[in-house]
């Protein structure tokens, strides 16, 4: 099994298109079906957009992963932006500070199997999501 991996620097809106297209390619390589590929690419698009809106720049890492006999895809969205003051609120449907739909993080969580978020005010935010085959 060849490990597929891609690092996408997020600095403008074109990078969002590049990130979701990389998500499509890698998830398809991992063996995900069309619906899961769409879920994964949509999640990547949301995470990349959050970086652009809230932190301006950051990085999205997409890679094939294996753990506990499971095989899947992992996406890490990392920025050194302002961080999230209230994580509980950020994970609430309908809440937004960025003028969006307020469904970004909770919606992304619903599309994936695992969702972890670490954020420190003034330091940045790292969101890690995984989906298993």
């Amino acid at each position: 099994m060849s490990d597929a991996e891609e690092t996408i620097p997020i600095k403008d809106e074109y990078a969002i298109v590049a990130a979701r297209s990389a998500g499509k390619t890698i998830s398809s390589k991992c063996g995900f079906g069309l619906v899961d590929q769409t879920r994964i690419s949509t999640a990547i698009s949301e995470l990349a957009r959050n970086i652009l809106v809230y932190a301006v720049t950051g990085t999205v890492y997409i890679r094939e992963v294996a753990a506990d006999g499971k095989h899947g895809i992992e996406v890490v969205a990392e920025d050194h932006g302002p961080g999230i003051v209230n994580l509980d609120l950020a994970m609430t449907d309908g809440h937004t500070t960025g003028g969006g739909l307020g469904a970004g993080l909770p919606g992304t969580k619903r599309l994936m199997d695992e969702f972890d978020i670490i954020s420190a005010v003034g330091e940045g935010t790292t969101v890690t999501v995984r989906k298993w085959l």
């Binding site: 809106e13 074109y14 969002i16 298109v17 979701r20 297209s21 499509k24 069309l34 619906v35 590929q37 769409t38 879920r39 690419s41 949509t42 698009s45 949301e46 957009r49 449907d93 969006g100 739909l101 469904a103 970004g104 909770p106 919606g107 992304t108 619903r110 599309l111």
Partner: protein, 127 residues
């Protein structure tokens, strides 16, 4: 670069209707440009209905979804009804699970059904 090749999405007039088919990966500026083009074309042509074909779209994130919903709302304010056609099953599933709503936007399975629907809507409006 791919973005250079497609600066515009064509908006075509057929009879009383405007039809636009999104065939490229939508980035933000392209989506907002489409919004401007559609509204300008509505004013220019006196169109009565608008069909947006999304058959070729493979990912719809919350930003693009919001732009599509807003295009329909703005068109409605200008007296034009919108029908969205060609939604892929995988996108429909993702939209619902994610929690994105296409409020105030009519949909049809494909372009043919969309044309039938928009004709009906426009006829009903005129009565």
């Amino acid at each position: 670069m791919m973005q250079g090749a497609y600066d515009k999405i064509p908006v075509l007039k057929i009879g009383d209707f405007l039809i636009t088919s999104i065939q490229v990966a939508l980035h933000d500026r392209l989506a907002l440009g489409l919004q401007d083009d559609i509204l300008a074309k509505i004013q220019e042509t006196n169109a009565k209905g608008l069909i947006i074909d999304v058959t070729a779209i493979d990912v719809l994130d919350s930003f693009i979804t919001r732009v599509l919903v807003e295009i329909a709302k703005m068109a409605n304010i200008m007296g034009v009804k919108t029908v969205l056609v060609g939604m892929q099953p995988a996108i429909a599933i993702t939209l619902v699970e994610f929690g994105m709503e296409l409020t105030g936007i009519q949909t049809a399975l494909n372009l043919e059904k969309g044309l039938e629907l928009i004709e009906k809507i426009v006829m009903a409006e005129q009565e």
